[in-house]
């Protein structure tokens, strides 16, 4: 484990409250500070305004895709990954790290380490 995740500020965009809560707990256990957004609008606002080190985005937010949030994050060079039940196919040729639901704590950690690694 070369990268410390402690103190990282992570945005979680997830429209399923229980899943969001769980991810929030997992990230909190890793020592991260977590900002949760349940809708596209909340996610865009957070991506634009919050101080962030990384983001974990659900693809489908109440039927709307979260790609605009990803683009906002890209603009700020904030690394992010997608966590989705649809798998990599949902990304439609986007070159991005994908974490498939359901995921384990170790999965999220490895994904974040890959995302933030050298």
């Amino acid at each position: 484990m070369s990268v410390s995740l402690a103190g990282l500020r992570v945005l979680v965009v997830e429209d399923e409250p229980i899943v969001a809560m769980t991810l929030e707990d997992l990230l909190a256990d890793l020592g991260c500070e977590v900002e949760v957004a349940g809708t596209l609008e909340q996610g865009l606002a957070a991506a634009a305004a919050c101080a962030l080190d990384a983001a974990v985005l659900d693809v489908n937010l109440n039927g709307r895709e979260s790609f605009p949030i990803a683009e906002a994050l890209d603009a700020r060079r904030i690394p992010h990954l997608f966590a989705t039940g649809y798998g990599a196919a949902a990304l439609r040729d986007r070159n991005a790290l994908v974490l498939e639901k359901p995921y384990r704590a170790a999965d999220i950690r490895a994904a974040l380490e890959t995302l933030l690694g050298p």
């Binding site: 399923e16 969001a20 809560m21 039940g85 359901p102």
Partner: protein
């Protein structure tokens, strides 16, 4: 004429003339006969004195009989004949032999008559010449007739000599007895040569036997005949002649010769031969082609038929090659007989050419055949009745093939017309050449509008290139292409067609167009897309549900009490499952708060006596329904464990309403869970999963605020959120 009285008894030599006359007169029998005879008769004495004349003699000279006896008959001789007759008479008398005189004499009425007399010397018993007895015939008419015949013969002979016809007369052995110049020219021999030959000698050996047979029969039975034969000329060449042969008879009917009128027909024979050969060739050619020929003489209603016409009708071949109109009419199929006969009548009467196709029932086996006959009336220049000339074919097989083609065509036409599939053809220029009604119905054009237009007119923009590419591929590789393409109907609707097409080739194997069969796969395609969508969605939901389950598990098993955690986990999964059941019943569409509450709370209030549910219909999305169901499950479970549902008297009121502060603000949902009559409520030691689910998850889901109050009178949960969208 023979002497009448050669053996007559002689008169006495010394008797005076008168006595002798009387002596003659005494021969009453002779006198009676002589007086009635239609000839002149007389008897003279030695000094030429007339001893007796009969009545005919007296009448001729125009005198009484006594006067006639004394009259010198020489006075009556024609001046031109006198000298000759007197000389012959004297010579005859001097010879004492029978002599005949013929000459003209003046009759009593002045007319000159030819008389032929025969005088016979008579002798007495002693052998002494005593005179003559004479008989004279009037031969004037006979001579005139003979002269007329001679004149006629001369005329005929002259005619014969100059005619193109040869004449030859032969005797009963065949020896030439008379030939004319023309016959000599035909035979190529001089008259002198011919008169020394028989007709058999100059007849071609191959024709001889038949010729002799006919000749002998003619002589025997008197039958005339006409035949054609060859003569052989001295130079070895042959000449074809047409001989018309008749037997010549004497007055008593006895044949004494045979006369032949002879025509040189070599040229005609050559022409005939060529014609026959040509006719034969034509006949063979026509019969080979299955064509039967026939003629009908419109006077006799029969005529020459080709052999194969008899065969065609199933009739025995006539040895003379002749058939009748009735023969033919008799074999025509009863259903066709009337109109065929009517057409033939029109042809016969008005000259309308006929072209008929009709059935016959063959005379031999009764089988039905189709014949095609055409023909016309042919007028004749020689005034004879016109004839009908026709040809016939057996077209049964052609009809059968046509019927089959028609049937097959009808079948294909039926398929074409009635198929649900779209069938159309285009040229290589992609212009529609035909289309079936299904195409018209699908595209919303009439057949007239569709045919003649480029098929690209019916394609959606952007798919024309695809159709062109398919055609290119077929032209390059042949075979069938199958592809889906978007077509545009007359109303502008775009439909998806799956088109299978292949090239049509002409007789030379070169492509001339293409035919295509297509079906509308729009709905099938949509269904397939929908199915794929559903599978993807199902996968997503399963994954999502598993994530939720994982979340519930993670949250639940944070508890220090594993047994309680397991029970709580099972309950929560059950709540999740119930919510899914509800959503499945609603086909994952919108449901209502009322339905979600009833489902979620049924396990906690089996009698429906403790929890009051009250609110207007509010439709919420499936995802919202799950969060609400899980939240209600947590509230009810807590109430059962620690709150109003844990005591017999406790009640819960779940109520909601839609509020709208002002016309310009969006309506809001206000929902409350209020427990009453339970044990005194104590603030929980720490916020567990239930509290967090309600306060945070549901609030996030609804995008509103959730207030959970552990008031002493009972737990209260109040939610204030924008009225949820149903989807």
């Amino acid at each position: 004429m023979e002497p009448v009285l050669s053996p007559a008894p002689p008169a006495p030599a010394a008797q005076p003339p008168a006595a002798r006359v009387r002596a003659w007169e005494g021969l009453s029998d002779f006198a009676q006969i002589a007086d009635f005879a239609p000839v002149a008769m007389w008897v003279t004495g030695p000094a030429r004195t007339r001893l007796y004349v009969n009545q005919f003699y007296a009448d001729f000279v125009g005198l009484r009989r006594e006067e006639a006896l004394a009259f010198d008959w020489r006075m009556l001789i024609h001046p031109d004949d006198r000298a000759r007759l007197q000389a012959e008479s004297e010579a005859g008398e001097a010879r004492l032999e029978r002599f005949v005189l013929e000459g003209r004499f003046c009759r009593g009425d002045g007319a000159w008559r030819w008389l032929q007399s025969t005088s016979q010397p008579i002798w007495d018993v002693t052998g002494t010449h005593i005179g003559f007895i004479g008989v004279a015939h009037d031969v004037t008419e006979a001579r005139e007739a003979a002269q007329a015949i001679a004149d006629k013969e001369a005329q005929l002979s002259a005619f014969i000599g100059q005619t193109t016809a040869g004449f030859a007369q032969v005797d009963l052995t065949g020896r030439f007895t008379l030939v004319n110049d023309r016959f000599c020219a035909i035979a190529g021999r001089s008259r002198e040569d011919l008169l020394g030959l028989t007709m058999q000698a100059i007849t071609h050996p191959q024709d001889l036997a038949g010729n002799v047979e006919k000749f002998e029969r003619a002589v025997r039975d008197g039958t005339s005949y006409t035949h054609e034969k060859r003569f052989v000329r001295p130079d070895g060449t042959t000449v074809w002649v047409n001989n018309s042969v008749a037997v010549i008879r004497r007055a008593d009917g006895t044949p004494y010769g045979v006369l032949a009128a002879c025509l040189d027909v070599s040229e005609r024979r050559a022409a005939d031969s060529a014609l026959r050969r040509s006719e034969e060739r034509l006949r063979l050619a026509t019969e080979g082609a299955g064509m039967a020929t026939w003629e009908i003489d419109l006077a006799t209603f029969d005529g020459p038929w080709s052999d194969n016409r008899f065969d065609l009708l199933g009739l025995p071949r006539d040895p003379n090659g002749r058939g009748t109109l009735a023969d033919w009419l008799a074999v025509i199929h009863p259903d066709d007989a009337a109109w065929v006969a009517a057409a033939m009548r029109r042809c016969f009467k008005e000259g309308t050419p006929v072209e008929l196709e009709y059935r016959i029932l063959r005379a031999d086996d009764g089988s039905e055949r189709w014949l095609h006959s055409h023909g016309r009336r042919v007028e004749r220049s020689d005034g004879r009745a016109p004839r009908f000339v026709g040809v016939s074919f057996d077209v049964t097989r052609r009809r059968a093939i046509e019927d089959e083609v028609r049937r097959s065509e009808w079948q294909f036409r039926t398929i074409f017309e009635q198929a649900n599939d779209f069938i159309f053809t285009t040229g290589l220029d992609k212009v529609v050449t035909s289309c079936n009604p299904a195409v018209c119905a699908a595209l919303g054009y009439t057949e007239e509008e569709a045919v003649g237009r480029p098929f690209s007119d019916f394609l959606a923009d952007g798919d024309v290139g695809q159709a062109d590419e398919m055609l290119r591929r077929k032209l390059k590789d042949g075979g069938t292409t199958r592809h889906t393409i978007r077509v545009r109907t007359s109303s502008g609707e775009v439909r998806l067609w799956e088109v299978s097409s292949r090239l049509n080739t002409g007789p030379d194997g070169q492509p001339v167009g293409l035919h295509a069969i297509a079906r509308d796969v729009t709905d099938a395609q949509r269904a397939q897309e929908m199915q794929q969508l559903l599978i993807n969605e199902l996968n997503h939901r399963v994954k999502n549900t598993l994530a939720i389950v994982q979340g519930i598990a993670v949250q639940t098993f944070k508890s220090d009490d594993p047994a309680a955690a397991r029970a709580a986990f099972a309950d929560r999964l059950r709540a999740l499952s119930d919510a899914h059941n509800l959503l499945t019943r609603e086909v994952w569409g919108a449901t209502t708060i009322d339905a979600v509450a009833a489902e979620a709370l049924a396990a906690h209030d089996p009698d429906r006596s403790r929890i009051t549910i009250d609110g207007p219909e509010v439709r919420i999305a499936p995802k919202t329904a799950i969060s609400l169901a899980l939240a209600l499950h947590e509230l009810a479970t807590n109430a059962l464990k620690h709150g109003a549902l844990g005591t017999p008297a406790g009640t819960v009121r779940l109520a909601w309403q839609i509020t709208s502060d002002a016309a310009d603000t969006a309506p809001r949902l206000q929902l409350s869970w209020i427990e009453r009559g339970g044990p005194p409520v104590a603030l929980p030691d720490r916020r567990g999963f239930g509290s967090r689910l309600i306060e945070r998850a549901l609030a996030a889901e609804l995008g509103g605020s959730v207030t959970l109050t552990f008031a002493p009178a009972g737990v209260e949960c109040r939610i204030d959120a924008p009225l949820p969208e149903p989807a």
